[in-house]
């Protein structure tokens, strides 16, 4: 799929700055400057706004704009400006993918301009008990499904129970039929999690989440998924470039199988007495082969990732 890039910096400079500061928010702190940003056209009226190493989906129709995750206050200002370069239409809705502050801060400027904020109801519940002045409360909440239509574009929202946090919402952009699962499913390939501690993972429902997600993708005939992050990848010419904003929908199943391998390995390790008193799976007993095909493969991360799942098998949560 052809991606048009309108960038505030040259692509190589953007990649270099990303490569130097791959950890979350590190770009802002290390350079002291605002991270580079870019708008990427995915399909007719479907875009991603990339700010540093994070991407947010937005839809442009002839009657208005649907924005998702504003990221943070600094990003949101650049986001607003980037949208204004494409269309005069107002932002009608801002949709939160989940409740993590690094994705959903900064929406106030859109709200002040008349946008309504939409989120799954458990996101709103969390904001109520754990407020952040930079996170605007949702105006509209939903339980399992919701659809937003602006002109000829729509964004369907699906909630399949806890997964990454308690309220992660799956997005399907129409009529382009593109799917985005922020944080959990990311082109270019299924991968190890960025944070091996996995404290926000919900093992008790993760399998069911992926089953429901795959079912949805099959039902809708989804062929392409949209990224929520950007990483440095080989450009095939000895250098590096930013990962693409989209990837094949086969990533969904591949990612589900990563977590399946984690569950299975922990289950077997418990049964065979290969979990230590410290609740870590003994690294030398892990069959590494199922994990090697994944991006970010790191043998030492596996017991750390699995620790969360040992806890799940012991405690049920």
């Amino acid at each position: 799929m052809k991606i048009l890039i309108h960038s505030s910096l040259s692509l190589r400079l953007a990649v270099a700055s990303i490569a130097l500061c791959l950890s979350l928010l590190a770009c802002t702190q290390e350079s002291g400057q605002r991270p580079d940003y870019a708008t990427e056209k995915i399909a007719d009226g479907v875009y991603t706004f990339r700010f540093g190493d994070q991407r947010s989906l937005f839809l442009v129709a002839d009657q208005g704009v649907i924005v998702t995750d504003p990221l943070n206050a600094v990003a949101a200002a650049a986001y607003r400006d980037a949208i204004a370069e494409i269309t005069d239409q107002p932002v009608k809705y801002v949709v939160y993918s989940h409740y993590h502050w690094d994705r959903v801060s900064g929406a106030q400027l859109f709200k002040d301009a008349g946008a309504e904020i939409i989120a799954q109801e458990r996101c709103a519940d969390r904001f109520r008990v754990n407020p952040n002045p930079d996170v605007a409360m949702p105006d509209i909440t939903f339980s399992e499904e919701y659809s937003i239509t602006v002109g000829d574009k729509s964004l369907d929202l699906f909630y399949f129970g806890p997964s990454h946090g308690d309220c992660l919402t799956v997005f399907v952009a129409n009529p382009a039929n593109l799917l985005q699962v922020v944080e959990l499913v990311n082109p270019p390939r299924a991968s190890f999690p960025r944070d091996p501690l996995g404290s926000y993972m919900r093992p008790h429902n993760l399998r069911q989440f992926f089953r429901d997600l795959e079912f949805l993708a099959n039902e809708r005939g989804i062929e392409t998924v949209i990224a929520s992050s950007a990483i440095a990848v080989d450009d095939g010419q000895g250098g590096q470039q930013l990962s693409a904003a989209t990837g094949p929908a086969t990533i969904i199943h591949d990612q589900a199988m990563f977590w399946e391998a984690i569950y299975n390995t922990v289950d077997i390790a418990e049964a065979e007495g290969n979990v230590g008193i410290d609740s870590f799976v003994k690294i030398d007993t892990i069959d590494l082969e199922p994990f090697k095909p994944y991006d970010g493969y790191n043998k030492e991360d596996l017991p750390i990732i699995m620790r969360r799942f040992v806890g799940f098998y012991d405690m049920g949560r």
Binding site: C21, S23, L24, L25, A26, Q29, E30, Y99, H100, W101, D102, R126, V129, N130, N132, V135, G161, G165, D195, L197, G198, S199, Y200, H204, N205, E270, G273, V275, G276, I277, S279, I304, R307, R308, G311, Y313, D314, M315, G316, R317
Partner: protein
């Protein structure tokens, strides 16, 4: 009798003696009314029944503890722990009193505390838990966990034979439905998992604190400090064996941890708020979040206060706290 061995218990029973960890029975000699023949670690046997007061008992199985209260109108029990522990507990309670167990109260929904209640269900006991625990059991059932008959949202009190067990909910903490329990009129607070005597400054067993709602821990402890202050509670009963600094060896040691000062709540609160504020300050000062754990470990922040301080564990713990500061999770 066909006793199913839980995953956790099997791991505990199979482990070799950990020679690098000192195990001591330091502290007051417990009043043990029953004790297992099977070894666990050091001087500790697999399980024991400890008399805390004339009618309040602690049952320790492996590293876990519950309490039960004996009255002349019946017994109030808590967290059966596991199928094997629950079976032993029901037999041992029957040796202490002829009275039936009338209530079983869950501190939270984790299977390693809430499993094994069937013998008490068979006696006709009513099971009491926070509403969110009940929801957790529906969302992810375990056939070894007896589901509650009575649920509540903010507060509940079991009254029986002149005693009472009052529980308060101050939002998610360890699990999303954990409550502490005040035993009345004895005025003791039973706490599982979140804080344990003798010290609230003990390094976390799991530094990733995966099941702890970092975003609400300080508020949770503020809630229980309020209860402690209002009721004048001086004693906390702990839900685990734990670690403590042994002045004789100069090293941390595993201790029984049955009872201790209620100051453990204020100490644990200070531990949580200390790491959170230090992390926030470091990020506000411009340190890239990815560098915060290493920097705070290098500066030995809180190192002198934490019993069992370990730089690697602290690094992991600070990674977790950094994630909270950035995401709110």
């Amino acid at each position: 009798m066909n006793i199913k061995i839980s995953r956790t218990a099997r791991r505990m029973l199979a482990m070799p003696l950990l020679l690098t960890i000192a195990v001591t029975a330091m502290g007051q000699e417990p009043d043990l009314v029953a004790i297992s023949d099977e070894p666990l670690m050091g001087p500790f046997k697999l399980w024991e029944i400890e008399r805390i007061t004339d009618d309040i008992y602690g049952f320790r199985y492996s590293f876990y503890r519950n309490i039960f209260i004996v009255t002349d109108e019946g017994v109030i029990a808590t967290d059966p722990l596991s199928v094997e522990a629950g079976q032993i507990l029901s037999e041992e309670i029957a040796k202490v009193t002829d009275q039936p167990v009338k209530y079983v109260a869950y501190t939270h929904s984790h299977w390693d505390h809430a499993s094994g209640g069937q013998p008490f269900k068979d006696q006709g006991a009513q099971f009491v838990a926070h509403q969110r625990c009940a929801e957790n059991f529906i969302e992810n059932p375990n056939p070894d966990v007896v589901t509650p008959d009575i649920t509540y949202t903010d507060r509940y009190e079991i009254k029986l034979g002149g005693k009472a067990l009052e529980m308060f909910y101050f939002g998610p903490s360890h699990d999303n439905c954990l409550v502490g329990m005040v035993i009345k009129p004895d005025n003791m607070l039973f706490l599982a998992d979140v804080a344990n005597p003798p010290t609230g400054w003990m390094m976390f067993y799991n530094p990733a604190v995966s099941e702890d709602r970092v975003w609400n821990m300080v508020r949770f402890f503020d809630g229980y400090q309020g209860v402690i202050d209002e009721y004048g509670i001086e004693t906390v009963i702990g839900g685990h064996m734990t670690g403590a600094f042994d002045p004789e060896t100069g090293r941390p040691a595993i201790v029984r941890g049955t009872t201790g000062s209620a100051s453990v709540v204020a100490e644990r609160r200070a531990f949580w708020s200390g790491v959170i504020e230090a992390t926030k300050a470091e990020i506000a000062a411009g340190t890239p979040p990815a560098d915060v754990p290493d920097k705070l470990v290098a500066e030995r922040v809180l190192a002198d206060q934490i019993t069992g301080y370990d730089p690697e564990k602290m690094r992991i713990f600070l990674q977790r706290i950094t994630t909270y500061v950035q995401t709110g999770e």
